[in-house]
């Protein structure tokens, strides 16, 4: 495989031809924030949190492949502002109540907001009316916390080979749907990879909440991307 050399924030980075910016950066120890990217999945490019400026244009680092001499801007003030705006939108579009959420301290959306130092979103809250599906004996689906990253859709298809989740409708009305009357009517099992794949508290195992004491949770002491993230293992 041929080597490709490019720069991220002025630092020279090399990777293999065909590798994405996100994975080449990670292999060189540079963290690019992301939400919809997940290990062993085909990149999706839906959340846009990994957006970087590539040769002057905004691109999603999880899908854009590297090329020789590419100039990537990752941690500039402009890109940080851009990502903060995306995170703010994700927060106001749903109903994210961290104070009682079982995912708090383990949540990647919350952890990214901590990393970007967000104290309050810059947009008005929409407070949408969203359902909670408690039908399954071992797993629940709280649409209030869903950010439509598509991880569950893809993990269920690509890794579990079950196709339990799908997106329906478009734009502002886009939402997650299960392939059945309710979660209990699907082939979802608690042992499926998908159960652990949700970055927020939308898809959660029942009866295991609040297991890690406050202060010892992954993102309590150090930000996401500071060595505590699941690493992208395949090229």
């Amino acid at each position: 495989m041929s080597n490709v050399t490019f720069t991220i924030d002025g630092r020279e980075v090399s990777g293999r031809a065909g590798q994405t910016i996100l994975k080449a950066a990670e292999a060189s120890g540079i963290y690019i924030p992301r939400l919809c990217a997940y290990k062993n999945l085909v990149p999706h490019g839906s959340c846009r949190v990994c957006s970087v400026r590539v040769n002057g244009r905004i691109q999603a680092a999880c899908v854009q492949t590297i090329s020789d001499g590419m100039v990537v801007e990752n941690d500039s003030a402009e890109i940080r502002e851009f990502r903060t705006a995306i995170l703010d939108m994700l927060f106001v579009e749903g109903n994210h109540y961290c104070m009682f959420c079982e995912k708090s301290g383990l949540c990647e959306l919350q952890a990214l907001a901590y990393r970007f130092g967000i104290t309050a979103p810059q947009y008005p809250f929409l407070n949408p009316d969203r359902p909670v599906d408690l039908s399954h004996p071992d797993v629940y689906l709280d649409h209030n916390r869903c950010i439509l990253c598509g991880r569950c859709v893809r993990v269920s298809q690509e890794l579990d080979h079950k196709n339990v989740f799908q997106f329906v409708d478009r734009g502002y009305r886009k939402r997650l749907q299960v392939n059945g009357e309710a979660l209990a009517a699907t082939r979802l099992a608690v042992t499926d990879e998908v159960t652990a794949s949700c970055p927020t508290g939308a898809l959660m195992r029942k009866r295991v909440g609040y297991a890690v004491p406050i202060g010892q949770r992954p993102f309590d002491a150090q930000p996401i991307g500071a060595g505590n993230l699941q690493t992208e293992d395949s090229p």
Binding site: H96, Y97, C98, M99, Y114, T119, A120, F125, D220
Partner: protein, 184 residues
């Protein structure tokens, strides 16, 4: 008594649970330093109900769920140089905002007519003139007036409150350390 040269701080709890004010008390022995540093104006801490002058800093706990909350918040904005939203309810409405996607009438009927154990044969919903009218939804403070500074947390860690107040009173930029920026 305090000297008039001390900066004055006002606090209030709107649609909150007073947990954030408990967190203020959690600064422990630094309360003595705080008492040296500031003079409390209108606050539940000294039980003063009205403003009697301008304040350097106003600290708001809770969001706006009724018309009285809005009046108090506007009064704070009018009297305070710097207004601080303290805690999740002030910042995003918090637990009370969970009613925001339900019609107000449905919430009142659930609370006063339908809940188990309710004895209300006349089917009356509270509507006394003394009771502040509920807003159709709960608003975070920054959607009602201009807010200058936010301290997230439910409640915010005492250290986060202390760091913010000290920075504001000494004219330094407010930056919360990573481990003090929390939403829970």
């Amino acid at each position: 008594m305090s000297t008039p040269s001390k900066p004055r701080v006002a606090t209030t709890s709107l649609c909150g649970c007073f947990g954030c004010h408990m967190s203020i008390l959690d600064i422990d022995e630094r309360l003595f330093a705080l008492a040296d540093l500031v003079e409390f104006a209108r606050s539940p801490i000294n039980d003063y109900k009205e403003f009697d002058g301008r304040c350097a800093v106003g600290i708001i706990e809770g969001g706006c769920c009724n018309e009285e909350n809005v009046h108090v918040l506007e009064d704070f904005r009018k009297h305070c140089n710097i207004l601080v939203s303290m805690g999740e309810c002030a910042i995003n409405g918090g637990i009370p905002a969970m009613r925001n996607n339900l019609p107000l009438r449905e919430c009142l009927e659930e609370a006063y007519l339908k809940s188990p154990g309710i004895w209300n044969p006349a089917g009356i919903l509270p509507n006394d003139i003394e009771i502040p009218l509920l807003l159709h939804r709960v608003y975070p403070c920054h959607e009602v007036v201009k807010i200058d500074c936010f301290i997230p947390g439910c409640p915010p860690p005492a250290d986060a409150i202390w760091d913010t107040v000290v920075a504001l009173l000494t004219g330094k930029p407010v930056t919360l350390a990573y481990e003090r920026l929390k939403y829970d």
